[in-house]
Amino acid sequence: MKTPFRGFTAILYKEFLVVMRDPFTLFFMMFPPLIEMIAFGYALDTDVKNMKTIVFDENRTEESRALVQQFENTGNFKIVGEAQSITELAELIRRGKAYVGIQIPPEFTRDLHAGRSAKFQVLVDGSNSTIASAALNTSLNVGFLNSIRALANRFGLRDVPVEVRPQILYNPEMRSPNFFLPGVIGIVLQIATTFTTAMSLVRERERGTLEQLMVSPLSRWGLMLGKLVPYLILGMLMSVVLFTLMRWVFHVPIAGDLSALMLGTFLYVFTLLSLGLLISTRAQNQMQALQMSMVFILPSVFFSGFIFPRETMPQIFYAISTVIPATYYIELERALILRGASIHDFWFHFVVLATMGLGLFSLCVLRFRKTLA
């Protein structure tokens, strides 16, 4: 009986029963990730479309109406009203009735036909930087396009001298779910799994059952592995649900090898659960376990490249990002899901995750003492 995993099957048996009997934990493991998936999938859309726009047209000619139409045709602007003065236009933006205001002066058509520079003004609400930069880019494009057409007309040219034919690879429609959802799955898995193991051992400490385990011949490896395996299975089931949602509800295609993706997920979840166990060897109560888990979760959200590209981070944050498991997992996910990369291209990420997982797991086994503090 003196195997290094003495007591493993007993702990496994008990832990499965406890998990199944405790709908509260199960709910908190499964429910928030689904909400977050839906929130990021539907609501958090950084594609700017249909920005509310108000027009103050003092020109009132066919040309001015054509200009406004061009704005609307880009799909980024939606004309929601007209203003009668520049003050009213500014006021409407200030009150949040519109993000963009277009003012076309009385001399617009006259200048246009006279070959002078025909000016019009675009007011953009800068309080939302995403909208502001989108509005700025689109209106500049509209202006350039008009200028070039006018010039081409003047010189009797049929084609524009230079034309760009951009091709967006891997996410041709530039849909934000494609960019965000793989990252969301990485973050959500971390939140759901780290807590579970962190809590489960601490709960035993609080209830005194840990003391009962310590007086038994149970081995440390047996205890830790028995605590980890049920949640590893749950975590994998959860990832299957999340990937299914991503694929069939949010229509993000999985371009790469599914088995490589699942292997990466397995290593990632294993790492996070080991991290949770490590927290539980330190935390004295559930509150502490919760706070310590948050300490690890927040940097993962901000520094893993989930939202902000790692390359633009200040060096200190970049350094932090290199020790965060989510960094490697999210990069791996984007490569496998969106770009159809293979395990050979990203073997380094697999090795890093496996090393982190085994290292953390061994550390928590070695740190755990079968004695009370």
């Binding site: 099957t9 011949p217 004695t371």
Partner: protein
């Protein structure tokens, strides 16, 4: 001298920072005896148990169990000991059946061996009607039985029970003690902490710990003969009368009365030899308590511990 003692402590000490929870405690427990470990809350009882179970490392001194050093051969004693903590540490969300099965597996039982031991324990503790009830929904007495069954699953040589009867009704207490006597008769060594004097009286040996120090240790009858309990110039009497609480206040003021404690309808006094029955009656009569019955008594274990505590507090440990 019987064979090697099952448990022996030599100057066992545990310090937490600057606080000494257990201070040079030495005693031994013979195989098959029921050792009652008494003392006020916070006096170090649980700390001693935890050191003997290998849960806490002694700061100083040593202790052995069945010949194994509890600090260095911790894993060797694990399958010899059963431990029932104060909280009856059970998994509330598991049923009685599952709790027992879990602890059985934890100690390496499986298949037919597990089934057989399971049946034995259910018979022993009469838990059949509750097999599929969750442990969290059991009442105190049944929780205690289940905790006991779990602690016995591997047939331990020594069973530690930390306040096993706290919060348990009298019938359950009686039944628990019947079981303990049965285990003892089969050769199991029992180490029990308790606050109840009637339980202490049932133990074959008792130890009394006060302010982290072991004040006394021995058989209850021997302890009652100690000189400190029976001062040569004093006697113990039982005074039964009406209005005991009023009488107690009066008697305490009487010269020559050393201690006076209420026991139900009577009071136990330790008085100087020269205090006569007449003076006690006269004093009580002054307070309109006419019917008084006085008889000499032997000291109880409680008297022993009160006397020892006073001695220890007044000048013993310096």
């Amino acid at each position: 001298m019987p064979a090697e003692p099952m448990i022996s402590c030599e100057a066992l000490t545990k310090r937490f920072g600057h606080f000494t929870a257990v201070d040079q405690v030495s005693f031994s427990v013979a195989k098959g005896s029921i050792f009652g470990f008494l003392g006020p809350n916070g006096s170090g009882k649980s700390t001693v148990i935890r050191m003997l179970c290998g849960l806490l490392e002694p700061s100083d001194g040593r202790a052995s169990l069945a010949g194994f050093d509890v600090a260095t051969q911790t894993e060797d004693i694990k399958h010899l000991i059963g431990y029932m903590s104060q909280k009856f540490s059970l998994y509330d969300e598991l049923t009685v059946h599952e709790n027992l099965n879990f602890y059985g597996r934890l100690y390496g039982l499986s298949g037919a061996a597990l089934k057989q031991r399971y049946d034995e324990l259910i018979t022993l503790t009469h838990l059949e009607p509750y097999l599929h009830r969750r442990a969290g929904l059991l009442s105190g007495g049944w929780r205690q039985r289940l905790a006991m069954a779990c602690a016995l699953v591997h047939k331990p040589t020594v069973l530690f029970l930390d306040e096993p009867t706290a919060g348990i009704d009298p019938v359950a207490r009686r039944e628990l003690w019947d079981l303990l006597f049965e285990f003892s008769s089969r050769g199991m060594t029992l180490f029990v902490t308790t606050h109840y004097m009637d339980e202490a009286e049932r133990c074959s040996h008792v130890g009394y710990i006060y302010l982290s120090k072991l004040v006394v240790c021995g058989e209850p009858d021997d302890l009652k003969q100690l000189p400190v309990v029976n001062p040569p110039d004093a006697k113990r009497i039982d005074v039964t009368c009406d209005h005991v609480t009023v009488g107690l206040q009066a008697i305490r003021k009487l010269p020559g009365v050393r201690t006076a404690t209420v026991f139900g309808q009577s009071m136990h006094l330790l008085v100087n030899k020269n205090v006569s029955e007449e003076s006690v009656r006269a004093e009580l009569a002054k307070h309109n308590i006419p019917h008084v019955d006085i008889r000499p008594i032997a000291p109880s274990l409680e008297d022993v511990f009160v006397a020892l505590t006073n001695t220890a507090a007044n000048g013993g440990p310096k």
